[in-house]
Symmetry: C2
Subunit: 356 residues, 2 copies
Amino acid sequence: MHQIAVLPGDGIGPEITEQAVRVLTALGLPLELQTQPVGGAAYAAHGHPLPEATLKLAQSARAILFGAVGDWKYDNLERHLRPEQAILGLRKALGLFANLRPAILYPQLANASTLKPEVVAGLDILIVRELTGDIYFGQPRGVRTLEDGPFKGERQGFDTMHYAESEIRRIAHIAFQAALKRNKKLCSVDKANVLETSQFWRDVMIAVSAEYPEVELSHMYVDNAAMQLVRAPKEFDVVVTGNLFGDILSDEAAMLTGSIGMLPSASLNAAGQGLYEPSHGSAPDIAGQNIANPLATILSAAMLLRYSLDEAAQADRIEAAVQSVLEQGLRTADIYEPGMLRVSTSEMGDAVLKAL
Amino acid sequence: MHQIAVLPGDGIGPEITEQAVRVLTALGLPLELQTQPVGGAAYAAHGHPLPEATLKLAQSARAILFGAVGDWKYDNLERHLRPEQAILGLRKALGLFANLRPAILYPQLANASTLKPEVVAGLDILIVRELTGDIYFGQPRGVRTLEDGPFKGERQGFDTMHYAESEIRRIAHIAFQAALKRNKKLCSVDKANVLETSQFWRDVMIAVSAEYPEVELSHMYVDNAAMQLVRAPKEFDVVVTGNLFGDILSDEAAMLTGSIGMLPSASLNAAGQGLYEPSHGSAPDIAGQNIANPLATILSAAMLLRYSLDEAAQADRIEAAVQSVLEQGLRTADIYEPGMLRVSTSEMGDAVLKAL
Ligand SMILES: CC(C)[C@H](C(=O)O)[C@@H](O)C(=O)O
Ligand SMILES: CC(C)[C@H](C(=O)O)[C@@H](O)C(=O)O
């Protein structure tokens, strides 16, 4: 029996997760699925975005199927009680250091992009983002009153960016191995012309690259990467970068496709445990209307099968089913265009189940 | 007499600066222009990217016309000798805290963008980037060996991000004032859901906004901003952000136009001194061929007149002349399309002079 924790979360989280659960259940695998609230829903029920019971379930499970967290209702809570602290807490507690964020433009959805078709048709990038280090968790951080210097007597907000050598090494290995299975091109993104952390990151990447002679390693500054993603995104194959730059670039890359409702993600630790979630957010404005796109979550379930359960054939099956519903012209509102068949969240789930 | 320091720099820097100098000289204003090397050229001549004489000239001038720095030749120098240290050194020494980066898509060049015309036609965003604070200059920074914690005994690269209250206040005022002269919409970009520096930044922005009731202030996380720039860039008017996020977003926004060869920038201090430079780089691959686009540098000279010399009418004249050469169909290689008239760097300069 594989234990799977289902954490639906807020906004559209519950309705999209429900469809992914239907798909997982239909495969006939020995899965045990258990659900707990997370994010704002958990705060509402238990006073904390990541309650003990939710964390325990997540830690004991082989994999986590995660919906989305966040709702305007919770915007005025103190930072440590806000919904997004749940996802940061899960990453840290489970050591989910490797975030895989594919940016794929399905041929059937080429029009959805704001970019010209010739620039994005066939886009298939994998962004590997380090997820437990960098300035996200670095200490010291806070607000202090300055005791000397040009701003003496003033308050100052501050944070610490850092990476230890083994943190860089382990994400480097994930990225090189991913590149080996793809087009063998890895671009490491940093800001080594300004940051010490980045120069150190680059040095370690170069050291690790000696173990992967088949992979062509290049380096790019983050400002240039933000430009090249707009100019010629198809020149990238695998991109590896730190937590902060990865946050920005993976979202930019996702939006190049114009169909972020289609993009899954995986966050893995060294033991093969993983958290799987759609790349999009909780969209509280459309929650409960049965119009959200469940495909990113269904494709996240496919990643779950591939990376945490070693069930590549089942993952392929789900991915083929998604391709097939797109072929049939089925579209939720976010990817709808004239001439296609507009369907609801649950109808999309039905269609994927049928195509399986 | 207004003193202007001309720092041509590396790569295409000298040839594009030359055209901007011709334009400035042709206006009949009481300008005294003096030239010094900077970047790799200065290292080659004097062993340092920002020699004493260059820094002195820059400090005593009212304004600096800057070409570009950087060349692969200098990539293997120690960090403190590399060309880009010159621009960081000038910003710090002169206190050039306010970077104004317009992203404008000229109607004549709408095709140059990789985005669909309806998404970018008429684009006119102003990015206000803080330029002397943040993680760029924050101390402590370096590489150290860890004495405890999970990575004990390992080396770690680290940097410090910080902003003092008055640093945020002064860039806020620049941004609100710019918004007042435009569409009165200001979007402040941060990562307040993760960073203490960002939460502090956001609090100060809100405090300053009380002085600008006519301006509508909004806040956006940097990952979302990177997405929205791709999805619907015309929804932005003025964007204000810190040094690191500004580096990334201003380059992304510039590339949306597809014609970064057209985009000027200004970096100002509290005394009205300013450094003016094209948004593009030194392009060493095409240096010395008389094919680079001088218009971004010529438009930087227009910004120089507007912001440091209070010569708005002369700035308008230059901007109108640039519009007129585009109208005439003149294009350097970077913005050439069939049916247009392909011209060299110096021919473009000739044409602007004629149109003045
Ligand atoms: C919600 C937020 C803390 C999070 C992050 O910045 O990592 C999100 O943007 C993401 O990318 O998963
Ligand atoms: C060259 C580099 C240090 C610089 C920066 O990061 O500020 C450049 O990218 C810029 O934006 O002017």
